[in-house]
Amino acid sequence: MKTIKNISRRSFVKSIGLASGGLIIACNTSIFSDKDKIPKDLIDFNPNLFVQLNSDGSLILIASRSEMGNGVRTSLPSIIADEMDADWEKVTVKQATGDKKYGDQNTDGSRSIRYLFEPMRKMGAIARTMLISAAAQKWDVSTSECSAENHFIVHSSGKKIGFGDLVEIAKTLKTPEEDTLTYKSPKDYKYIGKDLSSVDVKDYVTGSAIYGLDKRLPNMKFMAVQRCPVTFGTIKSFDKTDALKIPGVEAVIELPRIERPFGALGGVGVIASNTWAAFKGKEALKIEWDFGENEVYNSKKFMNQITKNVHKNGKVLKDKGNISKAFKKASKIIESTFQLPHLIHAPMEVPVAIAWVQGDSCEVWASTQTPQASRKEVIDYLKTSEEKVTINVTLLGGGFGRKSKPDYVVEATIASKEINAPVQVVWTREDEIKHGYYHTVSAQYLKASLNNEGNVTGWLHRFALPSISSTFAPGVEYASGGESGSATNLPFNIKNVKVEIGKAKAHVRIGWLRSVINIPHGFSINVFADELAYAAGKDPLDFRLNLIGEDRIVNPKAKNLKLNSARLKNVLKVAAKNAKWGKELPEGHAYGLAVHYSFFSYVASVVEVSMKNNKLRVHNVYTAIDCGVVVNRNTIKAQMEGAAIFGMSLAYYGKITVKDGAIEQSNFHDYKMIRMNETPTVHVEIVESTEKSTGVGEPGVPVIAPAIVNAIYKLTGKRYYNLPLSDHGIV
């Protein structure tokens, strides 16, 4: 453990090292800005940046990550409260603004708990230690005779004092050194590992929760933007006459394209006194575009091209053993080609941000997963300094990766600066679907050899997909390392393995979407492994457990959190046991399975499907997850339930197509979602574990589509290599 070092003597600010970058813990600086000070008659004690205890016993805990249904506003503070022995009833959660002092705030990659479990415990332990010292000082006893208990410090004699009554003394104490801190034993956890309700649940159900879309400022204007239908196309000319005639429209401005990964796309902004007028004004614009080079993009043709690229040799990423020899000696060769389309996030709340530029300062309110990146974009656009820019994070009506790309924050900033008033940019649903950062389109080719006993002796996996890196370094034509691990760390015990990548150029902005590369890789690997089981004449479950093979670390060279084959097999066994794999199912029903490791967590699902009049129905999903130590059981369950629906949506309907550079879909009629009537029952088991906490938000997604496809095969003998299933007329 790194030691705390002083970085500023004046305010006795300290920092601790973190995997995610430095996190500053400051002492005796209020976590409130002057604007929202606590009532004057209260005294506050701020043992660190995440904790404020007031003299009335009320406790304010900071959530540094964004709430988008992932439950962080509950889980992160609950870790602090548990370690502090605080009473959860007395806790209010306050959202952090975007600031490096909170460490990494990018709520992305399913890592909030993984990164912050230990630091949050530390924040709680610091507070508890100081309160114990304060009580000991007050009673003139040794700290070893005192302990914390549900918002009180208790002396061995039985006397006790409330946390709030210790504030005055605690304030005067020095922050304890990090190596002197002690921690609760996991068996004494009060909140960690239990079911906690969301701190926002009441606001959600009464309509008082404030999302980016709901934030209002005095004199705030609403803006809708018409962007070029083709990515990175530019404006030749535009006519705003009709737009300005719409009642409520106040101004029409040209937004420049900011050529940065998270920069504004550019376009024409219609600014109005209400959202509807802005939307109507946008429709009334007449714009002539220069579509630019991406006009050549046709997703159908592109699919043929990348499919060709995986049918020839590619760039070698992994070459273990001797694949050609294995193929030559095979008693059976199986090969399949997989094609998956672009997807878009479609969070229920569209991207929304408010910016208020005043001189060289700017305050933002945004539904953002990444307040620090938002801040950086605003600072650079305004050419101003860090302290001049405040990013307030509202609740997010879903994110799924879309809201970690703050291009819409930049749009609001440009407009506010231009018209000298606070501006809320609201994307229409059509904008969200047509101008996003798309989940990549992919072609994959897999080939394997079986020997006489039906064991897999060789495995070749070739894939081509436009890389997310192309958004950051235009021109990149190959998948990055981060987009390859889920293929190269193949958790199967096969002697000869080769992984290659083919060329694929991006013609739209490519971005990450819930579970990212694990969607295509999780699909192809799981469907292909199932295909091999049938080719070998074996039960898919037995075959798969055998294919994963003996207990071992699959990627011994990985720095931390290595892939453990025993944990992978275990989740598969648990899901199969809960589904009673092998039992007699009702006539016309069948099971399919998939198992996948992503975001350092292990997830398996068994799904039960039926087909009636050639229409698919998913009845049950049995999911097992091993994500290490559980923080909030309720959240993990909810995330697995939600992931099943998210996975089903992409399996059934998920498809973005492009014609002459323009996205063809526009709203929920042609970019469909699973609805209530299609919903299965999702049964979740969380494997008990003492391992480090790992990802939850994303790893439930990749297994769903392949498990469904495998179940359909079992039932009908037909195997689908391309999604969505709506293309095959079965949903």
Partner: protein
């Protein structure tokens, strides 16, 4: 001037009669619990009760709501309150954004049907998308509310 009766209160607003009810409620009257999700009647985020019937306020012009009783998520109705409690008890919401619309749709269902079965629930809720995928808990919460009502 257009007069709207929302949650028992009278509002006089000066807007074009074509403005969808959704935007009058959100931007003019300032009740932001009713959400925009698609603007095309496809997702149900904007549902309100108009004289006890669920409507997508994003495709209803404000003029069509004149003289009618509008109930939004901020309002009070017996079934709505019971449903809200079940929603809380079962931790239904994830991001929460679709839930006002879901609750309004469920309220309309229970107002008409004391004891809906699964198919009836599906039919009543089919117009409401939840991208977070909370359907299973929504269904459970509706059943739970029905049970509570039976006990009382």
């Amino acid at each position: 001037m257009i007069t709207l009766h929302i949650n028992g209160e009278k509002h006089e607003i000066n807007v074009s009669s074509e403005m969808p009810l959704l935007w009058a409620i959100r931007d003019i009257i300032g009740l932001t619990g009713t959400k925009y999700g698609c603007g095309k009647g496809l997702c149900g985020s904007c549902k309100v009760l108009l004289d006890n019937s669920p409507v997508q306020s994003c495709i209803i012009p404000v003029s069509a709501a004149e003289g009618k009783e509008i109930l939004t998520i901020e309002g009070k109705s017996k079934n709505l309150q019971l449903l809200q409690q079940s929603w809380i008890d079962l931790n239904v919401p994830q991001c929460g954004f679709c839930q006002p619309g879901q609750l309004i749709a469920a309220t309309a269902l229970l107002d008409k049907n004391d004891n809906p079965n699964d198919t009836e629930i599906d039919e009543a809720m089919i117009g409401n998308i939840c991208r977070c995928g909370t359907y299973q808990r929504i269904k459970k919460a509706i059943h739970k509310t029905v049970e509570l009502k039976k006990q009382n």
